[in-house]
Structures are given as structure tokens and as C-alpha cells.
Amino acid sequence: MNAIILSALWGVLMMYTGFATKNTRTVTAVAVLGMLAVFVVNWMEYIGITFFDIDTKGMLVYNGFGLIFNAVVIFSTLLYFLLSGRDIEKAGRTPSDLYALLFFILSGISIIAGFKSLLMLFIGIEIISIPLYVLAGSDKSNLKSNEAALKYFLMGSFSTGIMLMGIAFLYGDAGTFYLEGVNAGVGALTPMKAIGMVLLLASMSFKVSAAPFHFWTPDVYDGTPTVFTSFMATIVKAAGFFAFLKLFETAFGKFQTDWQVLMAVIATLTLVIGNITAVFQQSVKRMLSYSSIAQAGFMMLGVFAMNIFAKQGMILYFAAYSVATIGIFAVLSKFKDHSIDAFNGFAKKHPLVAFSMLICILSLAGIPLTAGFFAKYFMLLAVLKDADFIWLAIVAILSAAVSVYYYFRVIQAMYFKEPTNEEALEFSPSFRFVLLGAAIIILVLGIHPDFLTGLL
């Protein structure tokens, strides 16, 4: 609750900073400060200090899992501000407005972290989505950016429509919006409930870009200014998965055997399509778009299994994936040329940045001693716990092996090839420092994941 209100208020404050100062560095500083404050108040709520006593009639209830998730997301956003602040400043004419939108998104995510009612789910998802449509089109003079915004808006509103329809069906069946209410009652899955469930499954799959609802992703990610692609592919996706997990656990937990096969199919498709398509990409940005679909497939395994390992794995996956992807995108957005060849010999020119990026890539590929390994480890463990679905784990590791192929092309370019890119790149000391910090976080979580999973 603390985080919702503070981030909403700080978003309004951000809009006024645009009037108060023309200095974009100051605006970024205010935003970083705000995000720190949001992180602190969220943490205070975790240890039991709440500032606002609002009666939500049980529609918003925060537990440890939700607050830890929120902490991970806020922390990732903070990292994102620190690494990509300069690029946000350059993205539009008034960075203060863009920061305000990002704060509003975070407010929506905080609603998602605690929703107990389908209404809150809907409101949270919409508060996240609407600012995103604006951010996708923030590069007004660029046709691709406009196209991305329009595409995202059309597809997004379509899926929201489906979600509302699903909610309506569930309400018709159960007579309540509360998740527990949907789950309550006699054990059987009535047709009405089944239709509602499938509609929600489809719309949530759309939000997290799981196949076969992923078609919007590469175009939108590619057209959106790189700095916001980074945000969409990580923090927003994590929120989508959290909502997905929580919705299906609380509202449809009783029918797990009914939807599990469907979920397994979606996960398989997502893994296979995402990975295979990523192999053929020549642009690092598009490769990352497809890889984000592939990573979504792994996260789907958590939604699929929904046991204690899945929850630990989800939190770790959010952290590992978000930090690594934000790091790579932050470096990528300094490049004009997004092709893999642009990275040739990068390690010779910028050893420290290349090393940090190396750790991020290894983490995405799930190499041991990085956080990404334990994230995948927990997901596999979650799947294997249910002995009927060993094949799903095998599909997952085979696709992880494919993912190594395209991730390592970037490593090969950075470390083993001679420089061909004449572009002069500059990385400020603070940027290098923060990026190295991100790499260290990945390594620490890779050696001792208990720091994060132990909190649950």
C-alpha cells in the first residue's frame, strides 16, 4: 500500500519538476531519489510499518511474497534509472513526463503485487498498460515508434477486452470478484467458469508475450525506443507473470490438473518458437526481443508448476532476468548500430563494460555461478517435482541449449573478434560502476541464491 501511494504521488511530483527546472540531470536525480523512497517504504511495509490505513474491503492484501516481488521490481527500476537515465533524458522533449509515466506504471505494479480481486487485477493491468502505449510512441518523429505504439495499443486493448469478458464470465458463475470466491464452491469446473478461465489465460498470455499470443512482441520491442524496450521486456513482463501466477494459484488452484496441460503446451510453444526464431536474428535488439519470449517460456514453467520451488524460482528469475536484461539494453542503447557485428572487439576497447555484459549474458544463458543458473534450476525443479511432466523439463533444457547458441554469438563478437566498429562510444565512470554493480549482484545471487529465496 505504501508503494502504490508514494509512487503515484511522486509521479505527479515528477510532472511538476518539468516546470521547476530545465536541467534534465536534476530531473533524473529527483526520479532516482523517488525510486529509492519507494523502495524504502515498500521495505518498511515488509517489516510491518504501514503509513496508510485504508480499508480496501480485502481487495488488496499484501503478503511477504507480494512485497518481495515488489521490492525486486522497484530495485530493478532503480537500477534502470541509474543505467538508462541519460537515455530517458534524450528520448523525448520533456523527460519529466516520461519519468512520471514510469512512476505511474510502478504504481500499477504495486497494485498487482497485492490484488485479491479481479477488479484490482484489471485496474492494475490497465494502469501499467496505458502509460506504456505512450512510452512506445515517445519518439514522435520516428515512424517505427509510432507504428509500435499503435500496434501495441490495438493489440493491448483487444486483450484487455478478452480479459474483461473472462472476468464477466467468472462473475456470472461465482457472483463475486474475489479470487477466493472464484475458487470456492463445489469442486466441479462449470462451463462458465471454464470459459472465463480460458479467456483469462489467453489475455494473460498476451500480456507476458507467451506463444501463440506473442506476435506483437518483436515489432513493438523493435520499434519502441531502446530505452523503453528494456523496461517493457523486464519489469512489465515480471509484473505480468506475477499476476498470472497469483491469479491462477488463488482463483483456479483447485483446477490445476485441468489447466496444467494447456499451460504446458503454451510453455513448450513459447520456448521453442522464441529460441528458434532468436537464432536467426542479426540485430541484437531483435535477438533480445525473441530471447525475452524464450525466457518467458521458462517463467511459464513456474506458473505451470505452482509449488514452493516455482515461487522461489519466480522471484529469482525476475531478479536475474531483469538485472541482466536491463544491463545489456543499457549498453546496447549507446550503440547506433544494433547488429551483432557492432560488438566486434568490444572487449578490447571497453574491458570493464564488456566484462559486466559478459556476466549478464552468461546469466541469461543460465551458466552456473550466475543468478540465471539458479533461476532455471528452480524452474526445472518445480517441473520435475510432478513426475508426469519430465518431458517438459527436457524441452526446457534443450531450448536452453539453443539459447546458448545466440547468446554466445555476442560473446564471440565481443571477445574473440577484431574491432570493426568505428563508432566512438563513451561510458561515464558512474555508468561503468553501476553496471559492474549489476554484474556483482548477478554473481552473488549465483553463488548464494538463499539471499533472495530465503526471504520467502
Partner: protein
């Protein structure tokens, strides 16, 4: 806390790790090389000292277990038992020799080169000593990643492709291993990754078959066994020689070690079910690799294929489940590591001095470098497993076991010994004797450092060939434990 460092397994891990990390921060190439040599010699010293303590008397010194991830059920556990000692000794011996042989200015960014090499050593030691499946897996990968970078940065012209093939093969194998480990973990009664907990898991026959396949693929790729060997000749040829030495002398033993420590004890029913078929495939692969070796004109590829045949024999010996063959295989793991190191040293000298690796273009080196030739001939005899060399003892015992298992398989496997004599002697004849080829007219004999290393190797070859008893004393009991798992079924 400090007492935790006061034992052998811990030191064998931390010394190379500390040396490796330190090397990265040393700018001077000479100092980096010196650091690597000092740390690898220290590791060797620790290993040697540990041999004077038996596990019985000094349990506390040869075992260690740190709390690592209690919630997950994994602890950082290491042990030095009979089997492990042989392999750790090999690792501890090979690295200083490799470092001493590398000339000071051969590789640009030497500090990273030595750092990665020491990290590899740390990974290898960890693989051999781990008593916890998750730790085993982490070290298994930790040994792979530095080698990937070493070979890709400092290797030959086609290095990126060849090394990546090697990496993908091994990585896919290890992912299968991971699935197997996780499945076993979920089957343990108390949610633990420890080897002991794994030993106590009761699996149905079908489950054992599946688990066997998952583990076996990982190990077979690493060894490599026919038909999963295709990464190996290219990788050996393209990697820089020090890396090739480590790969062929020590790293392929990871797969064999995996068989002995994990596969054979964990899935006895499945092993009994599959072993005849597997031995037949392995033996066929040995003969195939030997035949390919005969037709190789490239020295490096010849050694690579010869290695496939030798490794195959050890794996076949292990699968016979006969006590004598298992002992022979473990001894042969050590001997093969030493012998192939000598062969690579010679091949590297020839390549560096003449720039040629083609057998048909060389000749008459013996006239120019008599000392080198003596060392080579001894190593070559060991490669053929002539009596009085170390390989004779091990291969003889493996054949003994194979004969007990199925005489006709032993007879067929014997072909590979004959073939190995053919290609090894043929290589010596063409490269070292005969007319002096134009390329070798300026060939210089070996320097003091090379002579010293080769003397140590030759000493080991003859010592183990004449008096292998200390090794058997070391490993006998541990190997017995593996065989005992099969008594009851």
C-alpha cells in the same frame, strides 16, 4: 573459520582459485607466469603431502563440508579418497609441467591466460573431490567455461567454430546431467544433494534406465565415446597446446571419473542391463578411431584419435564391473594423462620449430635432436602399452577384465592395440627417422626446461610400469566399494 582451510581438499580448491584470481590483476607477463607456477607448485606440494596420510587415520584432513545452501539441501562437501587421489595427483602434476613448458612471451595478455588456466585447475579439482551433486555440477561447468575462453582467444585459425562446437556438445550433455541430478534430488528422503543420500535412493528399474541415459550422455560426450566424439579432434587441433594438454590429459578424465563415482554406483540395475551393448559400441569405436588414426597425416589429429581409442578402452574396462578391470582403468587414467602429455610436448616442439604438422612432410628429426627422440620413443612405447611402461599395467588389467567378461570382445578390442602400434611406430618412422626433410634442417634439440619436464614424465612412466603397487594400495578400497554395489543384485 580459519580451521576450515587447514585441510587438504580445501587447499586444493582454494590455492588454484586464489592464484587464478590474483593472476588477473597482475599486469606484467613474467610476474603472471611466475604466479601461476608458484601456485601450481604449491598445489602439487599440498597434494604430495596429502599422500603420506591415509584417509583412515586423518579423516578430518581429507574431508571438508561447508554450509552452503541449507534451504536447498546442498553443502559444499569435498573428499580425498582413493579414487580421487589418483586423479587429483594427475591434475596437480600436469599443471606445473604445462606452465613450465610455456615460454614466457608466447601469449598476449598472459595474465588472463594463466588466470583462466588456474581457474580450470580449480574446476577440475572440484569435480574430482565433490561429494555433493550440485557442487559437482557447478565445478563441472566451472572447468568448462575457462577452457572455452582459453581456446577461443588463443587458439588457431578456426578456433571460434571448433571451440564453440566443443562447448555446445559439453553443455548439452551437462544439461542432461542436471535433469538427472534434480530428479535424484527429488527422490532423496530428506531433500539432499549429498552423494550418500543419492546412494540410498531406491529407484525402479525403468527410472534407473532413464537416469542412466541422462548421466551417461553427459559423461560419454566428455570422454568422448564414439559416436559422440566428433568435437574432439578439431578442438584438440585448434586449441593452444597448453590447453590441449590439459584437455586431453586431465579434462577427458572427468567423464571417466563420472562413470566411476556417480553412474556405476547409483544405477546398478541399469548398468547391468546396458553394459554389454555399451561395451560393444565402445570397442567398435576404438577400432574405428584406431583405423582413422592410421590414415591421419596430421600429428595432432593422430594423437587425438589415438586418445579416443585409449579412453574407450578405459570406459569399456569400467563397464565390465570386474574388480581388476576397474583398478586397471583407474591406473590407466593416470598413466594416459602422463603419456599423452609427453606426446603433445613433442608434437608442439615439432610444430613450433618447423611450422609443419603434416607427417609426410617431416623426417629425420632424430639426427638433429637425439635427446628429444629418446624421450619420444619411450612415450611412444608407453602409448602402445609395451611392458615396463605404465600403460602396460593398466591395459593388461583391463584386458584381463574384458576377457573375464566376454573373451571375444577382448579379442576384438585387442585389435586396437595392434593398430595403435602401427600408427604410433609409423609416425615415429616418418617424423623422426629416414631422410632429413628440408623443413627440419635447422631443428634444435630440447632446452633444459623441456628436458627436465620430459625426464619427470619418463621417470613416472617407468616407475609406474615397474612398481605400480602404491597406486593400487591407494585406490583398492574405494574401487572395491563400487564393485560391492553389484554383489547384491
Amino acid at each position: 573459520m580459519f580451521a576450515a582451510f587447514d585441510n587438504f581438499p580445501a587447499l586444493l580448491i582454494w590455492l588454484p582459485l586464489a592464484g587464478g584470481l590474483l593472476s588477473f590483476f597482475i599486469k606484467s607477463e613474467k610476474a603472471a607466469r611466475a604466479t601461476a607456477i608458484v601456485f601450481s607448485l604449491l598445489t602439487m606440494g599440498v597434494m604430495m603431502t596429502s599422500l603420506f596420510y591415509t584417509a583412515m587415520e586423518y579423516t578430518a584432513l581429507s574431508q571438508v563440508s561447508y554450509v552452503w545452501l541449507p534451504n536447498i539441501g546442498s553443502s559444499f562437501g569435498l573428499i580425498l579418497d582413493g579414487l580421487t587421489r589418483v586423479l587429483c595427483l594427475l591434475t596437480a602434476l600436469v599443471f606445473p609441467m604445462v606452465f613450465l613448458l610455456v615460454p614466457g612471451n608466447r601469449y598476449p595478455n598472459a595474465n588472463r591466460f594463466y588466470g583462466l588456466m588456474l581457474l580450470t585447475q580449480c574446476g577440475l579439482m572440484g569435480v574430482f573431490m565433490a561429494t555433493d551433486a550440485l557442487v559437482f555440477y557447478l565445478f563441472w561447468e566451472l572447468a568448462l567455461i575457462p577452457v572455452y575462453f582459453l581456446a577461443s582467444i588463443w587458439g588457431g585459425g578456426k578456433r571460434i567454430k571448433a571451440t564453440f562446437k566443443f562447448f555446445i556438445y559439453t553443455f548439452v550433455g551437462s544439461l542432461f546431467l542436471l535433469i538427472g541430478i534434480l530428479y535424484m534430488y527429488l527422490k532423496t528422503s530428506n531433500g539432499s544433494f549429498s552423494l550418500m543420500a543419492f546412494y540410498n535412493v531406491q529407484l525402479s528399474a525403468v527410472e534407473q534406465y532413464w537416469m542412466f541415459l541422462l548421466f551417461f550422455i553427459a559423461f560419454a560426450i566428455k570422454m568422448p565415446l564414439f559416436p559422440l566424439h566428433t568435437w574432439q579432434p578439431e578442438a584438440y587441433e585448434q586449441a593452444p597446446t597448453p590447453v590441449t594438454m590439459v584437455l586431453s590429459a586431465v579434462m577427458v578424465k572427468m567423464g571417466l571419473f563420472g562413470l566411476l563415482r556417480w553412474l556405476l554406483p547409483l544405477f546398478p540395475v541399469a548398468v547391468k542391463h546396458f553394459n554389454t551393448a555399451i561395451i560393444i559400441v565402445i570397442v567398435a569405436g576404438m577400432v574405428y578411431a584406431s583405423l582413422v588414426a592410421i590414415y591421419q597425416d596430421n600429428i595432432k589429429k593422430l594423437i587425438a584419435y589415438s586418445s579416443i581409442a585409449h579412453i574407450g578402452l578405459m570406459a569399456a574396462g569400467a563397464f565390465t564391473l570386474k574388480h581388476v578391470a576397474l583398478n586397471g582403468a583407474v591406473l590407466q587414467m593416470f598413466s594416459h594423462g602422463i603419456n599423452i602429455l609427453a606426446l603433445w610436448i613433442v608434437a608442439d616442439l615439432v610444430e613450433k620449430q618447423t611450422g609443419i604438422t603434416s607427417i609426410s612432410k617431416l623426417g629425420g628429426i632424430a639426427k638433429k635432436a637425439p635427446v628429444l627422440t629418446i624421450f619420444l620413443v619411450i612415450a611412444a612405447f608407453a602409448n602402445i602399452a609395451l611392458p615396463l611402461t605404465n600403460a602396460f599395467v593398466g591395459e593388461f588389467m583391463i584386458f584381463n577384465g574384458l576377457y573375464q567378461f566376454k573373451p571375444w570382445i577382448a579379442a576384438f578390442a585387442g585389435l586396437s592395440i595392434i593398430l595403435s602400434a602401427a600408427y604410433t611406430l609409423n609416425m615415429i618412422k616418418h617424423v623422426f627417422y629416414g631422410e632429413v626433410a628440408t623443413a627440419v634442417t635447422g631443428f634444435a634439440d630440447i632446452n633444459k626446461m623441456q628436458a627436465m619436464v620430459l625426464t619427470v614424465i619418463t621417470g613416472l612412466i617407468l616407475f609406474v610400469g615397474v612398481y605400480p603397487d602404491p597406486f593400487f594400495k591407494m585406490m583398492y578400497e574405494t574401487v572395491g566399494l563400487i564393485v560391492n554395489r553389484y554383489v547384491t543384485i
